[in-house]
């Protein structure tokens, strides 16, 4: 795969009197994991929604895999997961994973096969026939991630997907996401308000400040799988390493500066 996954140039977004995004310049390479972090109202979710073509920028250009964002959406170049799993409770878990393929007319046999594959990847094979309501929050979020991956997107957009989970579940989901991102080689744009989460998941942590929403700094993250010396399973080692804590301090400093 060649060329960057996402290119944002001079992107502004104005809601009435509020400048939600102001002069955003950001490029995400193929297979790169980038986190957006910042206080509430800094426009990080808006930025993700602009990439997803759920919002139109007021000014600037958004290109996904070299195409305009709208075209990329129509071509299903990205998969998306929200803070709420947003599963359809009248469909089984497997049928929820199949949804994107169902919408795009993929034949039933192929859909089934892909859903089984994905459920195995997220470790929910035995829940394929369950109803979403029977699953815990963490499990539902894994189903939502599997659903996002169904059309084999080269870009994964995630809007605080682990925001509503407890800390233990959250760390397990982070390790899982790293493994999945490594296996699928998809680029990830990940919105979070947790500093350790951003650091441990990302190649780069993009720090934003509010009013107007701007990128103030980009800090190197500590994502294990993307570095030659660390496999995704080494995530626990990373969490305890000195470099991890240094990176956390760097992000915290950057956030504080943005606020001041």
């Amino acid at each position: 795969m060649s060329g960057p996954a996402v290119e944002l140039a001079g992107v502004d977004k104005v809601f009435g009197p509020v400048r939600a995004l102001d002069g955003i310049e950001l490029t995400i390479g193929a297979g790169e994991f980038v986190s957006l972090i910042g206080p509430s109202g800094c426009g990080k979710s808006t930025l993700l929604r602009v990439v997803a073509d759920l919002e139109q920028p007021t000014a600037g250009t958004v290109r996904v895999r070299g195409k305009p964002a709208a075209q990329a959406r129509l071509d299903q170049d990205y998969g998306i997961a929200f803070q709420q799993a947003g599963l359809l409770e009248w469909r089984s878990v497997a049928e929820n994973v199949e949804l994107p393929l169902h919408v795009h007319g993929v034949p039933r046999a192929q859909r089934r096969e892909r859903a089984a594959e994905l459920l195995e990847m997220v470790g929910l094979t035995e829940f394929a026939r369950s109803r979403p309501g029977e699953l815990s929050g963490g499990m539902q979020q894994r189903v939502a991630i599997a659903r996002a991956l169904a059309p084999k997107p080269s870009l994964l957009l995630m809007d605080e997907p682990f925001g509503a989970l407890d800390e233990m579940t959250r760390e397990r989901m982070q390790a899982e996401l790293l493994r999945i991102a490594g296996e699928t080689r998809a680029a990830v744009l990940f919105v979070t308000h947790s500093i350790p989460e951003a650091v441990v998941l990302s190649d780069r942590v993009v720090v934003m400040s509010p009013r107007p929403g701007r990128i103030t700094e980009v800090v190197a993250g500590r994502r294990p799988g993307s570095r030659p010396d660390l496999a995704p399973d080494d995530v626990e080692d990373v969490r305890e390493s000195a470099a991890f804590f240094t990176a956390i301090t760097d992000v915290r400093e950057a956030l504080r500066k943005g606020h001041g």
Partner: protein, 247 residues
Amino acid sequence: MRTWLPPLAFGAGVLVLWQVLVLALAVPAFLLPAPTAIAGQVGAQFGVILPTAAVTGGNALAGLVAGFLLGVALALLAAWSRPVRELATPVVLAASAVPIVALAPVFTTLFGSTTEVPRQLVVTVVVVVPVFVSTTRGLRQVQPVHADLMTALAATPWQASRFVRLPGAVPHIVTGLRLAAPAAVIASIVAEYFGGPQNGLGSRISSAAANTAYARAWAFVVAAIALGLLYHLAGLLLERLVTRPRQ
């Protein structure tokens, strides 16, 4: 047990008190017959009560089905087309405020006084209103995350309806049906007070009362209450069946 005991005790207490008061104070039958007298009439008239209730219940069912289909169809049209929505909403709102049963004589003039059609039509109109209102509410209530998901998946409006809007509205549609079911029985009975064939529970109640056979009239009232309960419970059961797998 704990939840059933107080209401059961209260119900039994009222019946006993009613019986005792009627006997002790020699309450005249036109005011209130004794429960035992009513029960006796229910037994004596059972052969009449069943076919009579079948007529009233049949009219309620016919109107319920027709009104349900009409209400859902109208709500679907209104959800998809703005002009239909803007025209249908004031009419349905007005219908919900207007005493619809007063339309009974109109339908009788239009369709003739010898058939059940006028009564079934009154029930139909009565049923359309709650079904339309509740279906519309269901079709409108799409969670923002589902709407975003459909946009992200580049789904067409028709696909968004098929995958999210319609299935999401099903519980509301069934709730509308559940609310309409007892209303259908009430409308069916009241429509009989406006004339037409003398074969249903409503007409039997008025004719028995007019003939000063008060206990018999009350026996038909008991049957009317049982019929209303039957429809209510059937609606409740249907709602449970449809919404159960969803939690």
